[in-house]
């Protein structure tokens, strides 16, 4: 979100503050600034000019000669702008002036006619990309010839605040909230809004809020005798530099007030409202609405809509309807300044893919108090721009917010507690400073000795501030985290606990790397293409954990074995080469991975604290004591829906692979000499023996897995073992994994002629292998 320093300075005295330097303090106190932009500088030689006369250019159809008054002197220049007309006020760039864009205006001829100077567009002046016509200075009352920077608002500094840094701060989605923070930082007062209005007494129209939970507050007023025209130049340029396209005075006023107060507004053309009534309700299924952008929207029952007597005219809080928008001949408007429920707006906006400036704000849970402020600001602005406009109604105020004003939220804490959390003493952060800081941020502080009762202002109470720790943050960031003494925590000296499996994992990794294997860390997803090539198919294999929203059709399941992915990278290594050696016949590589695999059997881990699973009702009650609202409901829901997690054993997978000769198209059917397979098996056995020795554990023995080659082992082990397959059996007789050469049918599916020997074993089972004790003298 862009913040105008110049605009902000209308609400807080920033005299003597350099906004460029202040930006860093803002970042560390309020929210991160992505970029600081200087706007409208370098234009001090540009003058205000009134177009007095226009004449055709003798040598060009599209150019005209404009005679302009520069206050005391007139000049004739050539102008190509299509919107040039007598009476227009425009910027004049005298000859010799270099504009911020780098263009220097020459004192020369254009198509044979002298043109000492130039009439400028916004783009010419570097104010925006708008280049369709001249910058019209409507609303600028300075005499002709006045330097432009004295006649209109130029020379601004813009903060581009990171939107992600203010998602939890609805108040900062309007300039006024930002100004409040700046006022607190500068210890200056925040100027209150002038909200005095002369209102009518009639209702603007008949209003009903039938969905009070979706619309806590709906304020509305009727304004007549308006004329649609461009907004004053300062307003238009302000909108432009804040990234909003100026449209017309009425629409621009809604946008400016939204940017100022943070509360979005909508103006309807009163003519278009059928039945002189407005109802706020949930949409009916199959209802449709054509929104301002011309799109026909299918509505659903949870959407909130604004309706007239006949049907929806706006998608609440997101976008108005096309039929009721402000038109050039609009003379009477109905203004809406409302507050809508954040989850309702977010759900609809996300479903329809229409995150507007308005929905982005309502999603943050806005303060209902600001709806009325925004309405009054709009009405004041319209009257300032169009004195003839009349507010013919009262400011109607409907919805539950008015019916029962929400009780104020109060946090009870102590100064000691707040200071203790920060780690500062009362000498560093005094009671007086603490009270002043919170008061400056519009918290109401009632102090009794050390005890504090802090009332949360409405604009912080919707979701941002709830507990004492939130006040710790308010104090900390304004006190300055840099001012907090860094202090080593005093902790009990105890040796840390590291799970035995973790220690084993480290030993295995180090040993295998030293034995010449390269470690891999691979994805937890299976790759379906790889599985297909390896003849691993669902009916043959064991069930796997399925992903509901896979990232691609290749990654629909979690891996149940390490070997498919590991074999795929070994295969790729045999093509690409390894360690600086180019791929060639006889290239021999060894890789391993230690990682989790996923078995859809229920584990004994419920993914919930034990007390929620096994505890008595009394224990559960004790556990949930102190939890409230959403937290409590979430925890109890989770308890109701307990479902044990799948098994997630940690496995060790190893692959030794060697490239065979051949490999050109059509010659994939290369069969390895027995010695190649034997050598790979010996490498694998050597690596495993070495591993067991370094782990200090009893050796593993190999047991042949039966006479027949089996495609499709029942236990979830891959289906690629050939007759050269062995179970890995421990000294206590437990089978903890297997070693196998590739099944020939699997092998001939590889992309390259290659042979491989694979092994996979369970790390927890490995940990159970007895430590080696019998040493021969």
């Amino acid at each position: 979100m862009l913040v105008s320093w110049r605009w902000l300075s209308q609400f807080v005295d920033t005299q003597g503050v350099d906004p460029l330097q202040f930006a860093e303090k803002f970042t560390t106190t309020v929210a991160e600034i992505d970029d600081v932009v200087q706007w409208g500088f370098g234009l001090r030689d540009v003058l205000v000019a009134d177009v007095l006369a226009m004449a055709p250019h003798p040598n060009a159809d599209k150019l005209r000669l404009a005679t302009v008054d520069l206050g005391g002197r007139t000049v004739q220049v050539v102008c190509g702008a299509p919107d040039l007309r007598v009476g227009l006020r425009v910027p004049f760039v005298p000859p010799g002036v270099t504009l911020p864009s780098g263009i220097t205006v020459r004192d020369g001829e254009v198509r044979g006619v002298a043109s000492p100077g130039m009439l400028a567009s916004e783009k010419d002046l570097g104010l925006s990309d708008e280049n369709a016509g001249l910058l019209s200075l409507d609303g600028c009352t300075a005499p002709a010839g006045t330097p432009l920077h004295l006649a209109i608002e130029l020379e601004d500094v813009l903060y581009d605040v990171d939107n992600k840094a203010i998602t939890h701060r609805p108040d900062l989605w309007g300039l006024y909230g930002v100004a409040r923070e700046v006022a607190a930082m500068l210890d200056k007062p925040l100027r209150p809004f002038d909200l005095e209005l002369k209102l009518g007494t009639a209702m603007p129209l008949a209003i009903r809020v039938d969905a009070p939970e979706a619309c806590p507050r709906y304020t509305c007023a009727r304004l007549t005798n308006v004329a649609v025209a461009p907004a004053p130049v300062n307003a238009r340029l302000l909108l432009r530099r804040l990234g909003t396209r100026p449209i017309s005075n009425l629409v621009d006023a809604t946008n400016l007030v939204m940017l100022e107060t943070g509360n979005p507004l909508h103006a309807f053309d009163a003519r278009s409202l059928r039945g002189n009534a407005i109802t706020v309700r949930r949409a009916h299924a199959h209802e449709t609405l054509t929104t301002l952008d011309g799109q026909l929207r299918q509505l659903q029952a949870h959407d909130c809509v604004i309706c007239d007597a006949e049907g929806p005219i706006a998608l609440a809080g997101i976008m108005g309807g096309a039929d009721s928008e402000i038109r050039p001949d609009t003379t009477e408007v109905v203004l809406e300044a409302a507050n809508f429920d954040a989850p309702t707006i977010r759900r609809t906006a996300m479903r329809l893919g229409m995150r507007s400036e308005s929905s982005a704000r309502f999603e943050k849970a806005l303060d209902p108090v600001m709806a009325e402020v925004a309405a009054r600001r709009f009405l004041k602005l319209c009257q300032a721009w169009q004195p003839q406009a009349q507010i013919v109604s009262q400011l109607a105020d409907m919805g539950p917010f008015t019916a029962e004003a929400k009780p104020l939220s109060i946090i009870r804490t102590t100064g000691t507690y707040l200071r203790e959390r920060l780690g500062v003493t009362v000498a560093e952060l005094s009671d007086a400073w603490l009270d002043a800081c919170l008061t400056q941020l519009e918290f109401a502080v009632a102090r009794s000795g050390d005890a504090l009762a802090v009332t949360i202002p409405s604009f912080r109470a919707t979701k941002d501030i709830k507990i004492a720790e939130d006040l710790v943050e308010e104090l900390g960031r304004h006190y300055g985290y840099d001012n907090i003494r860094s202090e080593a925590p005093k902790v009990a000296a105890r040796p840390p606990h590291t799970p035995p499996l973790k220690l084993l994992e480290r030993q295995v990794r180090n040993t295998l790397v030293h034995a010449g294997l390269t470690e891999q860390v691979l994805y937890g997803f299976d790759d379906e293409d790889t599985r297909k090539r390896l003849l691993l198919s669902e009916p043959d294999g064991a069930p796997r954990v399925a992903v509901r929203n896979p990232i691609s059709s290749q990654h629909t399941h979690m891996r149940r074995n390490l070997l498919p992915n590991l074999l795929a990278v070994a295969e790729k290594g045999l093509v690409q080469g390894d360690d600086g050696q180019p791929a060639r016949k006889g290239l021999n590589i060894g890789v391993f991975e230690i990682g989790r695999v996923f078995v859809p059997e229920k584990s004994d881990d419920p993914g919930l604290p034990p007390v929620l699973v096994n505890g008595t009702e009394a224990e559960v009650a004790a556990y949930t004591a102190g939890m409230e609202g959403e937290m409590l409901r979430g925890v109890l829901d989770a308890r109701a829906g307990t479902k044990p997690l799948p098994l997630q054993p940690i496995r060790l997978g190893l692959v030794f692979a060697e490239r065979l000769g051949g490999g050109a198209e059509g010659s994939k059917l290369v069969f390895p000499a027995p010695e190649v397979t034997h050598r790979l098996l010996q490498q694998m056995i050597a690596a495993l023996s070495h591993l067991m020795k370094w782990l200090g554990r009893d050796a593993l023995t190999l047991q042949a897995t039966g006479p027949e080659a089996s495609l499709g082992a029942p236990d979830g082990q891959p289906s690629w073992r050939s007759k050269l397959g062995f179970d890995l059996v421990t000294s206590t007789g437990e089978t903890i994994g297997f070693v196998a050469a590739l099944h020939p049918r699997v092998r001939i599916e590889l992309d390259q002629p290659a042979q491989a020997v694979v092994a996979e074993l369970d790390l927890r089972a490995l940990e159970r292998v007895p430590l080696f004790k019998r040493v021969n003298p």
Partner: protein, 345 residues
């Protein structure tokens, strides 16, 4: 003196011949075979003794002495020659400059640890030295541990922000290592301090700086009266150890539902020392990790009384740290399995 007997003449001549042959031996190997030929058990000189019966009886003593003398002379000559040859070879070896140190080395079969493992091991060692448990928690998690327990209720935008892989079973792939926080609290009660590194998953499209699977390290300290001052000290100490230089850090407000107050922690840019450069996008500071004081609701979910116990927590991007340390330009290299990449570590 009478004329010398024939055998005497023969032995004397033999001495001269052997001496000449010894001197002609140009290598240790040639000398050794000459030694065997002259002095070995089947050698020519011991063989002379077999002629004793043909020698006049009164000469036999003299003959024996002469043969022994010949044997000693030849043995001494061989030893002298051997010494000379050894000296020559030593000199030659010392003067050998023929080695070209730029030539390709012979291949050595070495394995390569994965850089993620190396950096993770470094971090584990640092934290272990400061009394932190090193723990390991599931990758498939319950909604409770990944969200509810971390004060992220169902409606919360954070659940959308962290786009999540959901499983058909209703479980999910953990979106952060923070999912271990409440598990650790139930496992170790209080006080304790721990890190838990591991894989995390985000449902997002990949590019050079985004991956759907990456690695994090969670840090958690639970104790009495834990303060922002403690967090500052711990983070500066630990990050200096991890980055192997003294780092300057700063905290600024950051919003994460499971900490309050929450921070983004920046480190002073090392490239420009804070002056502003392209590495830090002209800010002088580099955003490194989110951290904060553990939210009371998280402590409650962990079965701890927030009035008695507090804590700090951080989440460090391990993948990003690996990329920073080794200058890895593309995060997808880390889990791509390419041996040409891995063999550089």
């Amino acid at each position: 003196m009478s004329e010398l007997p024939d055998w005497q003449i023969e032995i004397d001549a033999g001495a001269g011949r052997w001496q000449a042959e010894v001197n002609a031996a140009e290598s240790l190997e040639a000398l050794r075979s000459l030694e065997v030929q002259a002095l070995g058990k089947q050698g020519e000189i011991p063989a002379l003794m077999k002629r004793i019966p043909q020698i006049l009886p009164q000469d036999r003593k003299g003959f024996g002495q002469a043969v022994n003398a010949l044997q000693a002379t030849v043995a001494a000559a061989i030893e002298v020659r051997r010494q000379a040859l050894v000296e020559t070879l030593i000199a030659a070896e010392l003067n050998d400059t023929s080695f070209d140190p730029t030539q390709a080395a012979l291949p050595l079969r070495v394995g390569h640890p994965h850089p993620l493992s190396t950096v993770q091991a470094d971090i584990e060692a640092i934290f272990t030295s400061m009394g932190f448990h090193v723990l390991d928690y599931p990758e498939i998690e319950s909604e409770f541990d990944n969200f509810e327990a971390l004060n992220i209720p169902g409606w919360h935008p954070a659940r959308e922000m962290q786009d999540t892989f959901w499983l058909e079973s209703g479980h999910l792939l953990r979106t952060h290592t923070s999912s271990g926080q409440v598990r650790a609290m139930h496992e170790f009660k209080a006080p304790f301090r721990a890190i838990f590194p591991g894989k995390v998953f985000r449902y997002e499209s990949t590019d050079a700086s985004h991956e759907h699977t990456f690695h994090q390290v969670e840090g958690l300290m639970i104790d009495r009266k834990v303060t922002v001052g403690h967090l500052l000290d711990s983070m500066r100490t630990l990050l200096s150890a991890i980055l192997q230089r003294e780092v300057e850090i700063r905290l600024r407000p950051g919003y994460f539902p499971f900490v309050e107050p929450g921070f983004e922690l920046d480190i002073r840019c090392q490239v420009c020392a804070g002056a502003g450069c392209s590495a830090c996008k002209r800010r002088g500071w580099l955003e490194l990790l989110p951290c904060g004081l553990v939210h009371p609701n998280v402590l409650r979910a962990g079965g701890l009384d927030p009035d008695e116990w507090q804590g700090w927590a951080f989440g460090l991007g391990l993948s990003r740290l690996v990329m920073m340390r080794y200058g890895v330009p593309d995060v997808r290299l880390l889990m791509g399995g390419d041996l040409r990449f891995l063999s550089q570590f």
